[in-house]
């Protein structure tokens, strides 16, 4: 069938009209085979112009439309909508730019007209190969998997489940009678946390900057809400084992590790702790206190259901002991408990698995692990905490109060190659707390660079300065020695090597990725950055979207950040999901994608590894490559690479581009 092409050249007032001889072009293209209408308009993007375009399409029964005007970046969508209103598939329209790329850059009218003419001919030539593209929608699973129960994961969970949606369904039966049914739909969130309790690292901190607020108190309402929410399933002591599928429809396998304590039966009286004969260092306190084999990481941890540590429990290691079982009045202890694998379907995944502070023994120059009173910041944090090993007193290992403390910032920064960005503040906050408790203690703060970017930071720093903390800038080559009585901190300034004596040294080691990151990255086939954190899709524009559609990397697993920033990302990722995975609605897919003709594909696998969005996989049975159009973004890299021509880039096909080349190359 012969196409009925309409060509519309916009004069854009004088912008194009004065620079290009529009009438000459219109008169020439009129005579091209297939062109049934060619007209100019003074301002096609105006309401008048759009109405004119619509009428022309309908009146001329046009099957293809070319608009030569300004950059498609401005009004392409508007024109496409107009085509649609006129009953024409918007992809049967093509726009060519004769304003920004011709009229405005070519002062000579003859040359400008010639260039515009070529571009118009190219667009017209393309028309024979233009194909309608139908918008595709898929059913989606609105539920979400959140991995990691720290502040970022909690915030995401609460934002996602804040509100359900009432769905009103109106149905007409054959007799014409309408029946209205109302139903409420809620989005479920599966919150998977590896440790026995939720709250993450933040819950360890007695007082956090910038507010100097007690973090557990600050978090408690959120934790309670998450645990009580009907549409949140909190799966603590659990790990993700397998993820398949794509945006809108992932299937996730989760391992629920045996807790040996029934979550239903346990009332959280903690009567089982005392009789347990095992004592091991409590990592939660930085190893400063002891815990039992049946334990909660800290008093008040939520959910308030202990776990039995299977490595250390006597009973689980074949010894005769059932002390906890006897102590439990509710029959909650179950030594027969086993790991369970459960499966969930979700539409999107938020990874919020956090980070950890590096083990300072990696940096031996500071004597951590060698000298008793060299502590990491997190250990000082616990000493300072009222529920910590010393009941909140700052004490040396020998039980005495320190007279002088050296804080060393920027530990391992050189080795790691990045600034963790939070240490300056938490070290200042710690110095502040120590000064409150021990006003006479002498504090030295060694730093290489200070990082005080936020609006409250400067103030806290100044407060600490005012309290008499001495800040000493060194070149990052501090070294800790011990003379039998005191710790000696040697440091270098620009001019000389100096040293100070101190009773206690506090290290601020770098924030580094949590162990699980690598495993999750493999499960999802998403990249890590050079430091081992999750890579974001775009550091500025998509700072928490993983390069896989529907997967978000929020909080410190994406890079070191403070509580506020983590919460913001958690919330923002939830927003992204809420705006795309609507309850009761379908997911509209990107129309310009690539597709593979399996009748042509030879199964050479060339394309699979090229896709930056992991949208291509091999169909093992058919021995061909298959594109998942929920993941494809239409860049066309695979199309160019396909050696057989089986892969087609919609709206940018070989034929379409060739047709353009043919005209502009002349």
């Amino acid at each position: 069938m012969q196409e009925r092409i309409g060509v519309f050249v916009c004069k854009c007032g004088p912008n194009i009209g004065d620079k290009i001889d529009v009438d000459t072009i219109v008169n020439e293209v009129k005579n091209i085979d297939g062109v049934v209408t060619a007209k100019s308009h003074n301002l096609l993007c105006s309401n008048d112009g759009l109405e004119f375009l619509k009428e022309e399409i309908i009146k001329g029964n046009l099957s293809r439309v070319v608009v030569a005007a300004c950059t498609p970046k401005m009004y392409e969508q508007k024109f496409m909508n107009t085509c649609e209103e006129a009953g024409l598939n918007p992809f049967l329209f093509h726009m060519t730019n004769i304003r920004e790329q011709v009229a405005w850059v070519t002062p000579d009218k003859i040359l400008a007209t010639e260039k515009a003419r070529k571009l118009c001919l190219a667009a017209i030539n393309r028309m024979s190969f233009q194909e309608p593209i139908e918008k595709k929608e898929i059913d989606v699973q609105p539920d979400v998997l959140v991995v990691g129960g720290g502040v970022a994961g909690l915030e995401a969970t609460l934002t996602l489940t804040a509100k359900g949606r009432k769905i009103i369904l109106v149905e007409k039966d054959d007799s014409g009678k309408t029946e209205t049914t109302e139903s409420a739909q809620f989005r479920r969130v599966y919150l998977v946390e590896k440790s026995p309790c939720i709250g993450g690292v933040s819950a360890r901190f007695e007082e956090v900057y910038q507010t100097m607020e007690c973090a557990p108190c600050m978090l408690s309402p959120e934790l309670q809400e998450v645990l009580q929410k009907e549409n949140v399933e909190t799966l603590t002591y659990s790990e993700v084992e397998e993820i398949v599928g794509s945006f809108g429809n992932f299937t996730v396998k989760i391992r629920r590790k045996a807790r040996y304590v029934s979550e239903e039966a346990c009332i959280g009286c903690n009567a089982c702790f005392e009789p347990c004969p095992i004592e091991i260092p409590n990592q939660y306190d930085g190893g400063l206190s002891k815990r039992k084999a049946i334990y909660l990481p800290y008093a008040g941890a939520l959910p308030n259901v202990p776990v039995i540590d299977r490595l250390n429990c006597l009973h689980l290691n074949g010894k005769e002991c059932n002390a906890c079982e006897q102590a439990c009045a509710f029959g909650a202890i179950n030594f027969e408990d086993e790991d369970r694998l459960i499966e969930k379907n979700v539409g999107a995944i938020i990874l919020a698995v956090g980070s950890k502070l590096s083990d300072p023994t990696q940096f031996p120059q500071f004597g951590y692990g060698k000298y008793d009173n060299v502590l990491s910041a997190i250990q000082l944090e616990r000493l300072n905490a009222s529920n910590g090993p010393t009941g909140g007193k700052i004490l040396l290992r020998n039980g005495q109060e320190p007279k002088s403390i050296a804080f060393i910032y920027c530990v391992g920064r050189k080795e790691k190659g990045y600034c963790s960005g939070i240490c300056c503040m938490y070290m200042s906050a710690l110095a502040h707390h120590v000064k409150e408790k021990l006003p006479d203690v002498k504090i030295y703060s060694f730093y290489t660079d200070l990082c005080l970017p936020k609006k409250e930071h400067q103030k806290i720093f100044e407060k600490v300065l005012a309290k008499g903390v001495e800040f000493i800038r060194s070149d990052g080559s501090e070294y800790v020695d011990y003379d039998g009585k005191k710790l000696i901190v040697k440091y270098k300034t620009e001019s000389s090597v100096k040293s100070v004596l101190a009773d206690m040294v506090i290290l601020a080691p770098p924030v580094e990725p949590a162990k699980d990151i690598e495993k999750l990255a493999k499960l999802l086939d998403i990249p890590l950055d050079e430091h081992g954190f999750f890579s974001e899709e775009h550091i500025l524009m998509k700072p928490f979207g993983a390069p896989l559609e529907g997967v978000f990397v929020v909080g410190t697993c994406q890079g070191p950040k403070d509580i506020g920033d983590s919460v913001a990302q958690g919330s923002a990722s939830a927003g992204k999901i809420l705006s795309r995975l609507m309850l009761g609605e379908k997911l509209e897919l990107e129309p310009i994608v690539a597709e593979i003709d399996e009748e042509i594909c030879c199964g050479c696998n060339t394309c699979i590894g090229l896709c930056p969005f992991s949208a291509i996989h091999r169909d093992v049975e058919k021995k061909v490559s298959v594109i998942d159009d929920t993941l494809c973004r239409g860049c066309g890299t695979c199309v160019a690479a396909c050696p057989t021509g089986a892969t087609k880039a919609k709206n940018f096909t070989m034929e379409q581009i060739s047709a353009e080349i043919m005209e502009v190359a002349k």
């Binding site: 850059v105 571009l119 090229l610 930056p612 969005f613 066309g636 080349i661 002349k666």
Partner: protein, 139 residues
């Protein structure tokens, strides 16, 4: 004034260089009129077949512009373009087509001036090279 008759088929990626070219227009920078633009989504879509076709259809030069390496909207499309065009140029030399007739470069969405500079340089290069050596199929 030059006659600007030697066509330079110019492929621009949708996200960076096409916008860069628009910026050149917004700033009313002069660009040679033989720079003839075809928009694609990504420099990774550019097939050597397109470049070859441009030459046999009469172009004297082919300019391919994409996002700067590391800034690709699709992350890695431009890296593919680097290797493809590098191998293509090597092959074109074997066909007696000067490698300067093909240029792959980067223009970001804000670099209107850079677009105009690259476009003018390319036009200058092609002006000096003249038309593509004629394809003579003699008996």
């Amino acid at each position: 004034m030059k006659d600007e008759k030697l066509a330079i088929v110019t492929f621009l990626c949708n996200w960076c260089s096409y916008e860069g070219a628009d910026k050149a227009g917004n700033a009313r920078l002069n660009c040679p009129s033989n720079i003839r633009i075809i928009r694609v989504m990504c420099s990774g879509r550019i097939e050597p077949q397109f470049v070859i076709q441009a030459f046999i259809d009469g172009a004297s030069g082919v300019l391919i512009l994409g996002c700067h390496p590391g800034d690709c909207h699709y992350k890695k499309g431009n890296y593919k373009a680097i290797r493809r065009i590098s191998l293509l140029k090597k092959m074109l030399r074997q066909f007696g087509i000067e490698q300067d007739r093909v240029r792959l470069d980067w223009v970001s969405a804000s670099e209107g001036e850079r677009f105009a500079k690259v476009a003018n340089e390319m036009a200058e290069t092609i002006e000096q090279l003249g038309p593509l050596p004629e394809l003579k199929i003699l008996n």
